[in-house]
């Protein structure tokens, strides 16, 4: 885990409001353990926004670390105004990783919704020809080709590109085996539905979840998510809630509870 002032090597809008930023981050790249991990970003020195912003690592190549982000508020807006050559401060790599996707027996099904696509793309680039479903509201939010022949399925809520509907619609096209593992990242309702779906079909699933993070390194206890085990004692610590920044962001099967 390192804090690094990094130089931005490129920063481009790849779809509507969706940006890809590359930075030269040798220390963080060296410590990187795999898809699923994230960094915690500080784009400036002022204290209007005291807290860093977590962003999944979308790829690591040599010293180069990439993120894919969507403009939501102030900080992501500020990020989008950075030019190559500018520096930002990042802390990472943080969190755990997706597992087993590199196991030959496993057939990964990658599902990304909204900005959840960053860690999903990261797995994708390390796999040979996995199934991948990327969901968005409308065509302009997509930057890839709907390419079912190559196992890439895009969905749009408004039907303007690929399969009309949400990612579950695309699931219908995919035959699940006992070796299938779903890797998913996206909005909570999507993860919730997928979690139930996987349980029903009795296949494995790994979910990368989001939570509001104060520090990313286990200090603030802010980022908790409820665990789904039934063994919680009245007086316990860390049985009922898990720290997403340390124990996550990747959880397996029905480890955690949504909503």
């Amino acid at each position: 885990m390192n804090i690094e002032n990094v130089t931005i090597s490129s920063n481009k809008e790849i779809a509507m409001n969706l940006w890809r930023m590359s930075m030269n981050a040798p220390k963080i790249a060296a410590a990187y353990m795999g898809p699923g991990q994230f960094i915690n970003i500080l784009p400036n020195n002022n204290w209007e926004h005291p807290i860093r912003r977590p962003m999944s690592i979308a790829s690591v190549n040599g010293n180069n670390v990439e993120i894919i982000y969507k403009i939501f508020g102030d900080i992501t807006d500020q990020l989008s105004r950075k030019n190559s050559g500018d520096t930002i401060n990042i802390l990472g790599p943080l969190g755990n990783v997706f597992t087993e996707w590199d196991n030959k027996d496993v057939e990964p099904i990658l599902i990304g919704g909204g900005v959840g696509l960053a860690p999903i793309l990261n797995v994708y680039e390390s796999c040979r020809n996995p199934f991948m479903i990327i969901g968005a509201k409308t065509a302009s939010e997509h930057f890839m080709k709907h390419d079912p022949k190559n196992n890439i399925y895009l969905t749009t809520d408004d039907g303007s590109l690929g399969i009309a509907g949400n990612v579950m619609k695309a699931m219908d096209e995919i035959v699940l085996h006992e070796n299938s593992i779903i890797y998913a990242c996206g909005p909570e309702p999507m993860l919730h539905v997928l979690q139930k779906h996987a349980a029903n079909k009795n296949i494995r699933i790994q979910l990368s979840v989001e939570s509001y993070m104060g520090c990313g390194v286990g200090l603030c206890q802010g980022c908790v998510i409820e665990r789904q085990n039934g063994h919680v004692q009245e007086h316990s610590y860390h049985e009922k809630y898990s720290l997403v920044c340390l124990d996550g962001p990747v959880y397996k099967n029905s480890e955690v509870t949504f909503g």
């Binding site: 390192n2 509001y212 980022c223």
Partner: protein, 306 residues
């Protein structure tokens, strides 16, 4: 080299930069990011009699130059603190101040007794009578002079270690509570804990914090912390540990001028767990450049007008 050491009662700390309770875990979390041996002291997360899971999420949210938290005193409980943490602290050079919270006089006493009953090298206790987020946070003590004095004197009987009462800004008259702490036999007071705040998502219409109300911290509350310290400074003779919105060495100087004899850094640790090392480094340079021999010479020295 400026003298950064500060004295609270009979205890000398090598420097005045402490980390605040609940913002630095148990002090052992991030060895890669911060060399804790450089710190003046570590104030550990509030410990209660039993372990606590804390409040459901959402627990934190950012605000303008600040954040609101409602962690709900999630902690490992005193037994585990004794069994798991005290032995670790034996091998650390950094002075440890144990922060205790409770929902009754009994609970504070029981926790302290358990710790006093075992041998350890912790240097003192900070008593949280000011957590705004849970019934058990001691706020019923922190807003009441008599209860503060009673609690302080009961705890005073139990220990010869430093006894520091942590004050709330959410009261009409913080000095009165400080005076009660002094009367009860506290060695020092620390101020401030968080300011009661609320945050709403205008779009979802939901409270951004599960418990609706939470505690505001960070640079936004620095003026409140300075005012509290300066008010208390004129009313008590025991040292004051300044807390609230400290993010750099200038802030430390300001807290000293207002009347602090040392400071605690809270929210800023979340941005950079190693920020206290930077603050310490800059503070040293500052004092050297300004030819200030000893940081303690600044305590309460703010120049007022008229």
């Amino acid at each position: 080299m400026a003298d950064l050491s500060v004295k609270i009662s009979n205890t000398i700390f090598k420097n005045p930069i402490f980390v605040a309770s609940g913002t630095f875990g148990y002090g052992t979390e991030n060895p890669e990011l911060v060399d804790v041996s450089k710190l003046g002291a570590i104030v550990t997360k509030s410990i209660t009699l039993n372990p606590r899971e804390g409040n459901p999420p959402p627990r934190i949210v950012e605000t303008h130059s600040g954040m609101i938290n409602s962690i709900g005193l999630a902690n490992i409980g005193v037994e585990k603190y004794i069994s798991d943490m005290l032995p670790v602290y034996e091998n650390m050079d950094t002075p440890i101040i144990m922060n205790i919270a409770g929902s009754s006089m009994r609970e504070y006493i029981d926790v302290m007794k358990k710790v006093e009953d075992v041998s350890s090298n912790i240097v003192g206790y900070e008593i949280n009578i000011s957590c705004p987020n849970v019934k058990e946070g001691g706020m019923e003590f922190g807003v009441d002079c008599d209860m503060t004095e009673k609690l302080t004197s009961e705890l005073r009987k139990l220990t010869d270690r430093l006894l520091i009462m942590k004050l709330s800004p959410n009261v009409t008259d913080i000095s009165a509570i400080a005076i009660s702490s002094e009367n009860g036999g506290a060695d020092a007071v620390s101020a401030i804990n968080t300011v009661v705040g609320m945050s709403i998502n205008h779009s979802s219409q939901f409270s951004n914090i599960y418990t609706t109300f939470g505690g505001l911290s960070g640079p936004a509350i620095k003026p409140v912390g300075l005012a509290c310290v300066h008010k208390v400074y004129h009313r008590v003779n025991i040292p004051i540990i300044g807390i609230g919105g400290i993010v750099n060495s200038d802030d430390v100087i300001e807290y000293f001028l207002a009347g602090s004899c040392s400071v605690q850094v809270g929210t800023a640790n979340f941005r950079n767990p190693g920020i206290t090392e930077i603050i310490l480094h800059d503070l040293n340079n500052y004092l050297n450049e300004k030819h200030i021999d000893s940081i303690s010479s600044l305590i309460g020295r703010v120049k007022t007008h008229g």
